[in-house]
Symmetry: C2
Subunit: 138 residues, 2 copies
């Protein structure tokens, strides 16, 4: 399983870097950013090259920063040419979970995508409410 | 309304930077990272100073990268001393929404937190499923 993270600015690179601080260095994972001076074609070319380098197959998941916008659209543009999966709205808990899940080689990109989407709503927590509820339960 | 983003590594700083690429430069928003060589007390001191500089009041929301871990715990440690709000699992769509929402000065930190938590599950999208459903509806 291979992962490609794409964002405005440094977000994707930093998310990959922060994830690796926690789970250790990862092979088969790259990140690209779109900067104000860049043109979108150059970003698309970087993504295309990474997909091709990773074999261009069904074992590639692209993660983007948010729905719509150029990083998102650049990955959508690749979905016509390659059988990749694409999840948008990435956060650190989901990227970590994605790295955990690929350790089991039986998990397909579809399996991982489904599990991540199922878990996603639980990765956002209002900590004030959480602590209040924990106190009430004691 | 003031925002403090805290994460492992550069993630928080890059998320703030990428958000500003989209919504423009923002006052009253800072980001801190915990790096492998850092001790947690130093991170806590940075957060404490930022909270104090922002007035130490109820109009401060801290965003952290993920539930548990040192960045999260550093903010939790501040929650005993200051009436701040704390949301964990941040992603770019939520940070952008937080910047939008504070443009209406009537929105309190509680209002913003509630709205963000309500929206959060909708910011993660499986784009393959989304496009498939869009095609079926046509």
């Amino acid at each position: 399983m291979k992962y490609i993270l794409v964002s405005h600015g440094d977000l994707a690179k930093s998310m990959l870097g922060s994830a690796q601080m926690i789970v250790g260095e990862q092979e088969g994972a790259v990140a690209f950013g779109l900067y104000p001076q860049d043109d979108i074609e150059s970003l698309k070319n970087q993504i295309r090259e990474a997909i091709e380098k990773f074999g261009g197959g069904e074992d590639i998941i692209c993660f983007t920063d948010l729905f719509s916008g150029s990083p998102f659209n650049s990955v959508v543009a690749m979905m016509g040419d390659f059988p990749i999966r694409h999840i948008t709205g990435m956060n650190l808990p989901l990227i970590l979970e994605a790295f955990m899940m690929r350790m089991n080689e039986e998990n397909s990109a579809v399996d991982i995508s489904e599990k991540l989407l199922e878990q996603a709503p639980h990765t956002f927590i209002d900590v004030n409410d959480y602590l209040m509820n924990s106190l009430e339960e004691e």
